[in-house]
Subunit: 597 residues, 2 copies
Amino acid sequence: MLIRRREIDFLLKEYLQLDELFKTARFANHDAETVAGLLDTAYAIAENEFLPFAAKADQQEPEFVDGRVRLIDETATAVKAYSDAGFIAAAFDEDNGGMQFPWTVVQAAQAVFASANVGFYGYGMLTVGAANLLNAFGSSELKARFMPAMLEGRFFGTMCLTEPQAGSSLADIRTSAEPLQDGSYSIRGTKMWISGGDHELGENIVHMVLAKIPGGPPGVKGISLFLVPRKQVDDFGFCGEGNNIVLAGLNHKMGWRGTVNTLLNFGEGGECVGYLVGEPHRGLGYMFQMMNEARVSVGMSAAALGYSGYMHSLEYARSRPQGRPLTSRDPAQVQVPISQHPDVARLLLAQKAYTEGGLALTLYCARLLDDLKLTDDEQEKQSLESTLGLLTPIAKSWPSEYCLEANKHAIQVLGGYGYSRDYPVERLYRDNRLNPIHEGTHGIQGLDLLGRKVFLDKGIGLGQLLRKVREDCARVSVTPQLAGYAQLLAKATEDMIRVSSMLLADNDKGESERALANATLYLDSMGHLLIGWTWLRLARTALTALESETGQDEGFYQGKLKACHYFCTYELPRVSSNARILAERDRLFTEMRDEWY
Amino acid sequence: MLIRRREIDFLLKEYLQLDELFKTARFANHDAETVAGLLDTAYAIAENEFLPFAAKADQQEPEFVDGRVRLIDETATAVKAYSDAGFIAAAFDEDNGGMQFPWTVVQAAQAVFASANVGFYGYGMLTVGAANLLNAFGSSELKARFMPAMLEGRFFGTMCLTEPQAGSSLADIRTSAEPLQDGSYSIRGTKMWISGGDHELGENIVHMVLAKIPGGPPGVKGISLFLVPRKQVDDFGFCGEGNNIVLAGLNHKMGWRGTVNTLLNFGEGGECVGYLVGEPHRGLGYMFQMMNEARVSVGMSAAALGYSGYMHSLEYARSRPQGRPLTSRDPAQVQVPISQHPDVARLLLAQKAYTEGGLALTLYCARLLDDLKLTDDEQEKQSLESTLGLLTPIAKSWPSEYCLEANKHAIQVLGGYGYSRDYPVERLYRDNRLNPIHEGTHGIQGLDLLGRKVFLDKGIGLGQLLRKVREDCARVSVTPQLAGYAQLLAKATEDMIRVSSMLLADNDKGESERALANATLYLDSMGHLLIGWTWLRLARTALTALESETGQDEGFYQGKLKACHYFCTYELPRVSSNARILAERDRLFTEMRDEWY
């Protein structure tokens, strides 16, 4: 089931105050109406072209037939409807053939597609990512040749980072790029886990490939970025001969099967031509600069999958009669819907808090990305970049972890039915299990947050962000309905500030290994803290609305307050408990020996 | 991969001191040698007949062909090897044709089978359960007619409780049993989610069916237990005509696919004859009396699946080079195996603590079941029954929850490979997702623990059990290596005692709804506490062994200490945090309204 429209409208208009963006020159062509139009279209396509085929795309996964990928027919129809309606182009500048919508709006629309059918959604999402990279760092000639076709959905995109022997450790990639006489490069190597790596959905596929130019610096400093088309493209943008990229096999995944996943051999059987994007040896840096968008998108899709499961289990819980209240167990009484059992309420509220909170955090990040594009003020820019840098690993990892947990809960609500493939909740659970793995594993996100975003910056950005949290706590503490939650959040914040200082001090003393040994626990704790913050802000927004609302939306806003209550009461205490563990700076994980397992 | 033999030997001999059982009259025919022989056989069959076909049984799930169930051929071979070697009969009395092994030993062997191929394991496990029920409550005539064939593996067994409209609420089953002239009953109704409900593995299938005799009391007090054979059986034990049980369909599950799961219509197309087991209207009570075994077995299988994933991910982590230590990131250096990265160590240690701890707890319960059979002392009997009653919902639910988490971690260690179906860890994760659902959902276990086992007993049994925990803490507190853990456990114990008293007081005041609103959180917390206790005892056992051990087993015992350290440091703090939440007696889950979701 789709993310509710009411949810999206609440987040965009009330929580993220989209109106403010329309006042800027960049988004002056947009208003509530154009946004509503785009969302109407997204819902119509998601409902008609994506959702009905999600189960089929899972059951009939991509096949490798005569060297080509065969997808179910509905994939092409859906992806075409999506790109024809402008969802690849939506956030790009009008000058580049885009629609110049705020990224926040586009992400919200993408979330709707992901909740409908994450497999189909993958093709457009990857193309947006590749086009983003090209747009940011490609030469004008390269952009002119490839971007229009990508934005129109004639050329699709991929990201080719991982190799069979190099996943988290990109320093060890072996794909090589030998300079050719005309300034292009000859690409040779094998790339693994490439989503959308081969298919017949469009005229061409544009691979964004990390490779090493021989003679360059070792490790990550010698990685360059190349645009490598599946078929060669002439100066007029027409596709010609194949470019010697051989589909070596398909990966058969537990879930997310609608997006084909491939093993590709570049330069097998002949020369594979690639074009350098930006400068040599700076490829990984470019990737990282675009990582915010990509990683936040992962978190968004995790929230969308969780939300879909929440909707399914809610529908089931409201309509499934089973048992009676504990206080009146007379079997002659009619049974109650299971939503009335406290433990089912718990499972539903946890899903609500995880998925709505996760979606709110990822869209908040999208809003910061918009703000970043709008500001010319260097200091504000730095502050936004620092906040985004901190939030990105959290927005990627927290929903990946907790919205997977939400999908687990959705199965539980349905009981045996949830475990059967006749209901979609088990599929959503399998789909979502990918999110803690791709675009940097959960463990990598922890190192990114603590090692890069906190330590490298000496904790300055973190201090800024947590001061914002403190200020919100203080502001809300005068509102009686929310004061208790603010107090819980403030305590958790102080605990995380304290432990962050300890870890920073360790790192300053040269004990970085010890300081980073529990980076994942730090990540999870900071994630819980910031989702608590998100819920406090969501609740404040809802409370403001409730003051003037007495109609049918009252239940909607009350629900936000209840979810905030759930999160602060049942989830937030984990932060302080974890902070105490972190404060011990336990050495077990660095001292563990192989013979002890 | 299988549970390590060293693990089983440690648990049986050192932790559970099996030797003591051999001194009793009941087990006088057994000794370390007969046990080793049984385990040797279990490992040989598990290795050769179960493990190699686990993936195939998942890929080629049972099919419904011409009204019959088609399983992969290897199922019959494996199940025959298993029953021929006596694994169905192993724990039954010699008088009944059994081998009179301690249940503890048999459960350990079953865990090995479950770790190898949980789908194949299902058939034997269900038959043991059905035979247990028949043995305990059936008339001697009924036992004589059915038990020998069941113990020999010629007749298989099932448990038929759930109906499409009645899962957790058994009060609402509709299957009826009309008395016939000869004292047997005519069974009519539909049973859902019946594992092993139809197949051609043996000569017959013996269904243990809950049904209502018309005119009986309403609700659970009117439920009776019937033995209903798939084919009629004459007085000599020969199978005759079909008994009008129609296979209405197969359920297609997310995992655990090797065990066929069916929808059965009893009495469709003709009279279906069933035989009353025990007295009328006492069926649910009988089921509950045998529930300890069945529910502990679920926890054991969850631990076994988790253990198997742990072994796979450990093997992968030791052999996969990726990245370098944080302290020497020179890309010219050779890469290290990922087991040396702290976050991978965390994922492995968590798996170790969850799965070895879960296995130890379930085998401890099996040992208590043996003790129960051995004692004639009424007071000791009561005490054992009370402890077992408390431990059963925990032994069922804790491994189901945390060994599923272990399987999630196993996938994470393998990264993208773990998400692909080329590796077994994703299958184990799917298999294990069943365990929190069947044999009473997670939520039902919480109500069982708090509502039945704590409240009905006025907390007396709980007090006994927690005093035992306290005593162990005190005993260990003089051992310097373990004193810190004992202290942490003692604190968690006091916190749970305090909150248990509060909840008991609520219940005494008639506020049972409020007291039970967070029964699941109580269950989880008590589970963590008792796994902490288990780890303290395991560590004490290992430490004792280490005093005399300097050989190759040193690593094994050190590992137990490290896992204890992991659990007490990283997991146990959750208990006190949860206890504080429980103490608030929050009302959200009982006050939640449908329009707020």
